[in-house]
Subunit: 120 residues, 2 copies
């Protein structure tokens, strides 16, 4: 059931949940959203997170998140060119998803621990 809409091609169905999962339904995308929320900004900072994302998966997910409009890539240095990533409004609007996951984990995975915000 593929359908083209104003600016989005429904890949699997018209169901909103299916479409959200087509964008962030993997083990890494929401961790990058988490990292940016925690204050991380650069490729190198994302690589240092405890889950040890590989460089190729990180590069792929950053591209996908940018393409989906969840993050924006901003040059912060010219020579050599260096980029940092920020959550767009669309990306920030996903933070409630992370928050209800925290509520779930607080009840069902009580030994997990929220990572601290990054001092900048």
């Amino acid at each position: 059931m593929k359908q083209l809409t104003s600016d989005f091609w429904f890949k699997r169905s018209i169901c909103p949940i299916a479409n959200v999962l087509d964008i962030v339904g993997d083990k890494w995308s929401l961790l990058i959203v988490r990292d940016i929320y925690l204050g991380k900004r650069t490729y190198g900072e994302f690589l240092q997170s405890p889950e040890q994302i590989s460089t190729n998966i990180l590069a792929n997910r950053l591209k996908q998140l940018e393409k989906s409009g969840l993050i924006t890539k901003v040059a912060y240095q010219k020579t050599p060119i260096r980029y940092q990533y920020e959550l767009s409004e669309k990306g920030s609007d996903l933070l409630p998803v992370l928050k209800v996951m925290l509520v779930w984990a607080d009840k069902h995975l009580p030994d997990s621990q929220v990572l601290p915000k990054v001092e900048r």
Copy 2:
């Protein structure tokens, strides 16, 4: 950073988000949770959802969801044996995740449409 806790092995980190994604961070698991919430109960009913999950992925995800304690498998017929699936409390507690995804989709994917509940 692997750590064994009371009843859960942290695969990637102690972060609750990472651990939730280790359980349901894929394109299919939360669609099965959605289907059960909508009133579907059997393997055959899950196969009829518009996303057309394949039989092998469905069998795998049902096993994983059962192993994670999110769904329970109940025999409803003896000869031949037939099973139906229900959300456990732990699984039902994930429904707020779906609900905030709906809120996000309502704003950012306005052409998506919530699937109707199944009449039984």
